[in-house]
């Protein structure tokens, strides 16, 4: 066992419906409360029962926020579990599980500790408690106090039948004792230094960070139709929305969802439409309407692999072009793509202000990887949370589409002021009535397009690390940020810099100046076409010299990025 790691990688594998997710959630909380940095990401099949799913946890004495291939400890909870992750097993891996079940799967020379979670659980009363036993064992191995574990069970099962609480306590204790035995016998003893900073940090999933950003951004309407991996936002707002005065409606389809969100903005609410690629394909009609109505709109588009239904529970960054070119006709839009939990919070929040201020649709472009990934981070900064509405009280004679110097017309809402607010999907005059006056048409096209300049002015600058003017630049966008960050640390080369784009469109005016001086420009993205590389060429006239692309449905891992960078930077 390798005790040199500053972090330890634990993987759990088992079929859907077996409760791997439960173990993941429990360990995230328990290990965090014990003062460890924690990271968890899952991969799962698109089925409710069976198949093979896995959860990868990293437990650290230093912050960890990216997936690694390395497995230090593998908990295989059912036959097939070891083969499922065989490519990640190395001579340093220890496998924990019922040996008999995995006889065929375990490669020669790999250390195995024979433990039957099921047997221990059955002895307590039900093999369903296997999960709880596993949590107890891991708790002991990571030197978590027994009392902390029992506390957790008490809280977790509060409100359940007394018998269930008691049996789960027994199960966690049994697991804990097993774990202690392993530690005492020296078979498995993981020493990581807790970090006192962790205690005051928060731990959440990417999708929850988006939800938080929405609440902080004053979101009070969501229209959505369930589709992985966006559904978590709908669930989050359904869970907390009532307390915050959010109208949460599960629409009959995505077409309804986006039209609802537009209706909500029209009447002065802050609406979000949340979906994934297939759903957004249906929303493009309403998206174009946002352009014509000059309506603010926030769209959460959580990417998964396509075309069509693709791989429903996997990840990809291939809907950038969809977001960029969606909708017929010409009108501006902004696309924000959070790279980590802090950005998921801040950018979602920002999306509402940006949309409101400039009366344009704004995307929050996430993906399955970001949505389903947990780690601990500093609490979000709520100090300046306040909603600045950009609608006005109207006067008699109000013109919703008044032609102004700047291109922005003050936005009124019905029920506030003495003006009438008229919006129309046909080309319209300043009031909002249908027109076929071709001169006016020209003016309206120009007016709509002119708002792009505000979006450019307000664009978020790419993040450059560690310092500009590097020989080689690795360029990435969205959720790959922490992965590339760690890969560059591992690579440890002074001449390689990182440029991450939290806003992918429109580009910040500094883009070309930042990228152009580098000798090699390596663009890393989770798609097959190099969509962002193309965007950089088209909108900043920057030539990408190398691409690192991945499109098998899995997120990049740190080791993989290191390997691929080494190939390029020989």
């Amino acid at each position: 066992m390798n005790t040199e790691h500053k972090d330890y990688s634990v993987v759990l594998v088992g079929p859907a419906g077996m409760g791997i997710q439960t173990v993941e959630q429990a360990l995230v909380k328990i290990l965090k409360s014990a003062g460890y940095h924690i990271f968890a990401t899952k991969e799962y099949m698109s089925r409710v029962r069976g198949g093979m799913n896995s959860t990868s946890l990293r437990v650290g004495s230093v912050p960890v926020s990216a997936p690694v291939e390395r497995i230090d400890l593998l908990l295989a909870l059912a036959p097939g579990g070891v083969s499922h992750v065989s490519e990640r097993i190395s001579p340093t891996t220890i496998i924990l599980g019922e040996k008999e079940q995995f006889e065929q799967e375990i490669p020669a020379g790999i250390r195995t500790i024979d433990i039957s979670f099921e047997q221990i659980a059955s002895a307590i009363g039900n093999k369903l408690y296997s999960n709880t036993v596993a949590v107890g064992l891991l708790g002991a191995v990571f030197h978590v106090e027994g009392a902390t574990l029992e506390d957790f069970v008490q809280k977790r099962f509060a409100g359940k039948e007394q018998k269930i609480v008691e049996e789960n306590k027994k199960a966690i204790r049994a697991g804990f004792e097993q774990g202690l035995r392993l530690v005492q016998s020296g078979l498995l003893d993981i020493r990581l230094q807790p970090d006192s900073r962790v205690k005051n940090q928060i731990v959440m999933e990417g999708i929850e960070a988006v939800g938080f950003g929405a609440l902080a951004g004053g979101c009070n309407f969501i229209g959505a139709y369930p589709m992985s991996p966006s559904t978590g936002l709908l669930t989050f707002l359904a869970k907390h929305g009532k307390r915050f005065g959010v109208v949460v409606e599960q629409a009959e389809d995505e077409i309804a969802a986006i039209n609802m969100a537009l209706g909500a903005w029209y009447a002065g609410a802050r609406g979000i439409a949340s979906t994934s690629g297939g759903g957004f394909a249906l929303m493009t009609e309403g998206f174009s309407l946002a352009g014509m109505l000059e309506s603010p709109l926030v769209i959460h588009l959580a990417q998964r692999p396509g075309p069509a239904t693709g791989l429903p529970t996997r990840t990809e960054q291939a809907d950038l072009d969809l977001a960029l070119y969606a909708g017929h006709g010409e009108f501006p839009r902004a696309i924000l793509a959070p790279g980590n939990l802090q950005q998921a919070f801040e950018l979602t929040r920002h999306a509402f202000d940006l949309a409101d201020q400039f009366q344009v649709p704004v995307f929050v472009l996430t993906d399955q990887y970001l949505a389903d990934t947990y780690y601990n981070t500093e609490p979000f900064d709520l100090s300046d949370v306040r909603v600045n509405h950009h609608f006005v009280e109207t006067q008699e004679g109000y013109l919703r589409f008044a032609l102004t110097e700047s291109g922005l017309s003050p936005r009124g809402i019905p029920g506030l002021g003495r003006g009438l607010v008229a919006v129309d999907s046909d080309e319209h005059d300043e009031f909002g009535r249908i027109t076929e006056d071709l001169n006016l048409r020209t003016k309206m096209v120009e007016k709509r397009r002119s708002k792009e300049k505000f979006l450019i002015e307000q664009a978020i600058a790419p993040m450059v690390r560690p310092a500009p003017k590097k020989e080689h630049l690795v360029i990435c966008w969205g959720s790959t940020l922490p992965i590339v960050q760690e890969a560059l640390e591992v690579l440890g080369r002074e001449d390689v810099g990182l440029v991450h784009f939290p806003q992918v469109f429109p580009l910040h005016p500094s883009t070309a100046a930042i990228l152009a001086p580098a000798r090699t420009r390596i663009c890393l993205e989770g798609n097959a076409g190099g969509q962002f590389a193309r965007l950089l060429k088209a909108y900043a006239d920057v030539e990408i010299t190398h691409r690192i692309l991945k499109y098998n449905g899995a997120a990049f891992t740190v080791e993989e990025v290191v390997r691929r960078l080494k190939e390029i930077l020989k």
Partner: protein
């Protein structure tokens, strides 16, 4: 009572054919709203696309003239985020029952406090005379040269089957009675459907004023609280009889959306007047530390 002129928008170039039933609907709706004392500043008309859908342009009120078939989701959201507004969703039969058929069904299920007026001329007007979902069998058009072979959509039967809270049909040739029904529908809390038979004098030479007059009659001795009776009256015509007019069905026990969702239980202000509760947000964030 307001003067109906408050709803006149001034001189406009109206895009409807002379003699079209839409004019009648426009006037009757203006009268009904005036008699109900509805301030144009509290009235939002939501429509889709088509000849009927242009009506809000000829009205002095707030309006959201959106996409073909999509008036209802927008109307739902408007009424959900500001319950002080009177929301009327109006459009043609193609718009509401064809392109918007799915939304029609599900808006009924939501029961928002809106009035859904459908100009039913049994044809597509704006696209020049194709069949609509309510076109009768045998109706000939350039796209259905041998006559419509599909079963016509029966909006009333569908709405009653879905237990819509208010369901009525009228004919615009009967202005006074139409106005009274519209008034009841607008006053009704929850979703109200008013299907208005309306001749398209240009593209429907079969279902004319004369035809509607001869093929309809008013419901009498009908109890609109009786859902089974309402349903059997709604399917009468399919058995070859005339089309009944009037209020078919009212369910006074249905809870309107805003009430069921509890959004205005403790705070009656529309959403635009509220702001983020920072204390609650801090509390929620705190819970993620544990």
């Amino acid at each position: 009572m307001l003067d109906e002129k408050v709803f006149y928008p001034g001189k406009l170039d109206i895009a409807w054919c002379p003699g079209c039933g839409n004019y009648g609907i426009l006037r009757v709706l203006q009268k009904a709203l005036a008699e109900l004392d509805i301030d144009p500043h509290n009235l939002v008309m939501v429509s889709g696309i088509g000849q009927a859908a242009k009506l809000p342009h000829y009205f002095n009120c707030h309006y959201f003239n959106g996409l073909h078939g999509r008036a209802l989701p927008a109307a739902f959201a408007i009424s959900a985020v500001n319950p002080n507004l009177t929301v009327i969703a109006e459009s043609g039969d193609g718009d509401m029952y064809g392109e918007g058929g799915n939304h029609f069904m599900h808006t009924i299920r939501r029961n928002p406090n809106i009035t859904n007026i459908v100009h039913n001329n049994m044809v597509y007007g704006l696209t020049k005379g194709q069949a609509s979902p309510t076109s009768r069998r045998g109706f000939k058009t350039p796209v259905q040269p041998a006559g419509v072979i599909n079963e016509p959509f029966n909006p009333l039967a569908v709405a009653i089957a879905l237990d819509a809270s208010f369901v009525a049909r009228t004919f615009i040739g009967e202005a006074e009675r139409t106005k009274e029904i519209l008034k009841q529908a607008i006053r009704h809390p929850g979703y109200a459907l008013v299907d208005i038979l309306q001749p398209c004098v240009t593209f429907n030479k079969v279902n004319t004023y004369q035809w509607f007059k001869e093929s309809t009659y008013w419901l009498e001795d009908h109890n609109p609280l009786d859902r089974r009776a309402a349903f059997s009256r709604a399917i009468e015509e399919s058995e070859g009889g005339k089309l009944p007019l009037g209020i078919f069905y009212i369910n006074p026990n249905k809870v309107p959306y805003n009430q069921a969702a509890g959004i205005y239980e403790t705070d009656t202000r529309p959403l635009f007047q509220r702001s983020v509760d920072l204390e609650k947000l801090r509390g929620l964030l705190q819970s993620y530390k544990e």
